[in-house]
Symmetry: C2
Subunit: 113 residues, 2 copies
């Protein structure tokens, strides 16, 4: 026994959500940003933390995230010369959404590995 299905109003999907998933869903972008939530990190540190990402892809993604002003690249004079990546205010603004997403995934997406 099922109830009749009503006719719904036309709806449009939210353009901001499409942009958010288009950008953050691009492989590694969201993961790199979430890794930087814990604080600034150098290139090798990021690569180790993320795992499974190649130097060239990490470098490309960091350039993209820096271009989108979500990540800041800072060079210390040294010695030793060191490069450090950190979240900008726009990147930090993503933290509440990231925490919500992580909580949801822990409760609703089974770990496959």
């Amino acid at each position: 026994m099922t109830t009749p299905i009503e006719i719904h109003e036309p709806r449009a999907c939210d353009g901001a959500i499409v942009r958010a998933f288009g950008f953050l869903g691009k492989r590694w972008n969201g993961v790199i940003l979430s890794t930087l939530i814990d604080g600034p990190a150098g290139f090798s540190e990021l690569r180790r933390a993320i795992g499974g990402i190649s130097d060239s892809v990490l470098s490309e993604r960091l350039t993209e995230l820096t271009g989108a002003t979500l990540v800041e690249r800072r060079v210390a004079d040294g010695p030793p010369v060191a490069v450090e990546y950190s979240l900008t205010p726009a990147g930090l603004a993503l933290v509440p959404a990231m925490r919500e997403l992580a909580t949801w995934a822990r409760e609703n997406l089974p770990a496959t590995d």
Copy 2:
């Protein structure tokens, strides 16, 4: 003039975030879920709302989302026979994160079209 860069503790990226972006970032998954936030919808209604998605891809994604128990498929006896998709409790649990993400994208990701 730059300040010295400190040595940071090793960190690991959050597995839940990796899963969340792996799943929601898969083209259309996040967008389909966010479209269903407004209430149940039929297949054609979803296709029109999303735009740019083919029947076969929408069908495949709905099967995947139903399998992950984030979306429920309901068939009304009719006439007319009608199929309706809606969010399950696990899908609805994603709403706060979606709203945070949309707000962030509106403020921090420029619209490109």
